[in-house]
């Protein structure tokens, strides 16, 4: 693919933090491309973002616009931070608009502990978490599944875990879709996908996946009322954040169906500008099969985060000598950021059923919207934006404006600005670990080189991403969270 360098120059400012590339910019575009960014963030986006978001605008059945969030960067197929909706009747579904790590997502757990209580035992806590939550290449989980049990995980998601004792019923209330997306169909999952994921339930993975101990610093609460509703008590409070997905199971389903769609696209008369955008009509046999398998993977990802939550509670209980309930380890929320979901939205004044693809993008439903937990209904759905292990993360809430403008979608992270190779060239993993330790951030990692790849300088400034989301009205900042400990693959 030859990059069209001038696509970025064609981005015209249409709002305080909104840029539009007209549908005439590239042959085949059905809709314009819209990028949410400040001028500075737009300038940091690589040429691949503009190429990819305009490629998405060429897909059949796309509605209104192809969107890119402020954390957007060059991915494969869709840009990371990409959002696109297709009419379920006439549009497509594309694995490249979801990613191989189906339902990669974030979960935040609050605690009743303060930094003063945790800091003296932080090393012990991190070591115990590292020993209890498998990380890195080749890691195996502790849950032993039969084929039949695995198929139940695919259909029931986090609910299966709670039924097995790996969680509390109220965890489900605070999980997107109650931790179970409808339409999962194990019949469309290959034996290879099952073999690949069978032993990985409860594992973190590697790359940018992590489990982090975080604290609220003074001045980090931006919306006191919403914070209180989310269980935020005040500065010094400790939170646990985790970022992971469907592991090899989801990766194999992505691989299987990308390969299939690549083959069947000509049969449906579809051609795409990037082969990674291989797709099939949503209503086609192949489209429906992928949707069934993808939801199975999404549910396994919910189960994965649920099993890890169980392990986190076990570790905290052991280290602090109290029951996890006494320690206040309640799930604040769990969100997906790699999915395609069947949702109803208004299009040109009429309700429509859409297949909303979010790749490296989070659902951000506003106050009163469906699937927002009852206790959060007045503030909107919590949104978890994961930053780098050095700088911190953020909790926000969805808005009515996001519902109107981006199908209720927002960003998912800080977004990379540097390749993994360049990050490793700039710092050695061991050096960074020591440096972070000196700054009070204790990290244990399965891969030292992986630590260097995830250095804070490889990412955009999270505050600038959150600021754009706030100014664009896509999400409302509630609280910033600062890391003090981290385990990763």
């Amino acid at each position: 693919m030859k990059l069209t360098e001038n696509l970025a120059a064609q981005a015209r400012q249409v709002g305080e933090c909104v840029w539009e590339i007209a549908a005439t910019a590239k042959p085949g575009m059905h809709v314009p491309a819209r990028i949410y960014a400040s001028e500075a963030l737009l300038g940091q986006m690589d040429a691949g973002v503009f190429e990819q978001v305009t490629n998405v605008a060429c897909l059949p059945g796309i509605v209104r616009a192809a969107y890119c969030m402020p954390d957007g960067h060059w991915g494969y197929g869709f840009p990371i931070g990409g959002v696109a909706a297709f009419r379920s009747e006439s549009g497509v579904i594309s694995p490249g608009g979801i990613g191989f790590d189906i339902n990669c997502g974030m979960r935040v757990i609050r605690t009743g502990l303060t930094e003063d209580e945790v800091r003296p035992r932080l090393r012990e806590l991190i070591a115990a978490l590292f020993g209890s939550v498998p990380t890195g290449v080749g890691a195996k989980g502790f849950v032993r599944l039969t084929d039949a049990a695995f198929k139940k995980v695919m259909v029931e998601g986090a609910g299966w875990c709670v039924a097995q004792g790996y969680g509390w019923p109220e965890d489900l209330e605070h999980t997107e879709g109650r931790g179970c997306l409808p339409g999962a169909d194990p019949a469309h999952v290959s034996a290879r996908a099952m073999a690949r994921g069978m032993e990985q339930l409860g594992t973190l993975g590697s790359g940018n996946h992590y489990l982090e101990i975080q604290v609220i610093r003074p001045g980090a609460i931006h919306d006191a009322r919403a914070a209180k509703i989310l269980g935020v008590e005040g500065p010094g409070q400790i939170f646990v954040m985790l970022h992971c997905g469907s592991r090899g199971f989801g990766h194999q389903i992505g691989t299987d169906y990308l390969r299939l769609f690549d083959e069947v696209m000509p049969r449906y008369g579809i051609s795409v500008r990037d082969r990674e955008l291989a797709c099939a009509p949503f209503k086609s046999k192949e489209g429906r099969a992928y949707f069934g398998a993808m939801n199975a993977a999404a549910n396994s990802a919910f189960a994965n985060r649920q099993v890890i939550t169980h392990r986190v509670r076990e570790v905290f209980a052991k280290v602090f000598g109290k029951d996890a309930r006494e320690l206040g380890l309640f799930v604040v929320y769990d969100v997906c950021h790699n999915t395609a979901k069947l949702e109803r939205h208004e299009v040109d004044g009429a309700p429509a059923e859409l297949v909303v693809h979010r790749k490296g993008a989070t659902r951000a439903f506003g106050p009163g919207a469906p699937d927002v937990p009852n206790d959060y209904r007045e503030i909107g759905q919590p949104v978890i934006i994961g930053g780098s292990m050095e700088t911190g993360s953020a909790l926000l809430v969805g808005t009515a404006h996001a519902m109107e403008e981006t199908w209720g979608s927002t960003a998912h992270g800080a977004g990379r600005t540097m390749s993994r190779t360049e990050a490793k060239r700039r710092v050695r993993g061991e050096t960074l670990l020591k440096d972070m330790d000196a700054r009070g951030i204790i990290v244990q990692a399965a891969s030292k080189s992986g630590v260097a790849e995830e250095a804070g300088f490889a990412y955009k400034n999270l505050d600038s991403v959150v600021d754009v989301l706030d100014r664009a009205g896509l999400s409302r900042p509630v609280v910033s969270l600062t890391p003090i400990g981290n385990i990763k693959g």
Binding site: G77, S206, D274, S447
Partner: protein, 142 residues
């Protein structure tokens, strides 16, 4: 063995590679070595296992896609990494691959781990004949 290099300006959070081989077999063997080097430091992996892999695909590039996907699959299913392979590619469509792969099981006490590849993507995926032999470009999702 052929050569490979990482393309740093492509797909920032993933791993883009350009692989050169003097012939198709060399390219497929080099691609396997490149993939293994992403996952582990091969010097810290004991080479203790050997397997035969046979596969076929309608197109040559799909054969390469399937080959690397198979090695990623085995990383998760068996926890085995294969830094060395002898590969024979034959046919004129469909194409067949016969390989003997040499590797070992990840030993968390000894093996220096790298990244955990999720899949081979089709983004900018090419396999073409060049003056010196064959060249592939691909992006691996990390």
């Amino acid at each position: 063995m052929g050569r490979y290099r990482f393309l740093e300006d492509v797909a920032l959070s993933d791993c883009a590679l350009e692989i050169d081989g003097r012939d198709l077999s060399d390219l497929f063997e080099t691609a396997a070595a490149a993939l293994a080097s992403i996952m582990v430091d091969p010097a810290t992996l004991s080479i203790t296992t050997e397997h035969e892999i046979v596969m076929a695909a309608a197109e040559l590039d799909l054969l390469l896609y399937d080959w690397l996907s198979e090695l990623i699959f085995r990383k998760d299913r068996d926890r085995e990494i294969f830094p060395r392979a002898q590969v024979a590619v034959s046919g004129s469509g469909p194409y067949e691959l016969r390989a003997t792969v040499h590797g070992g099981v990840i030993d968390t006490e000894r093996t220096a781990l790298g990244a955990d590849p999720k899949a081979v993507t089709f983004h900018q995926f090419t396999l073409q004949r060049v003056e010196e032999g064959w060249r592939a470009r691909l992006v691996i999702d990390i």
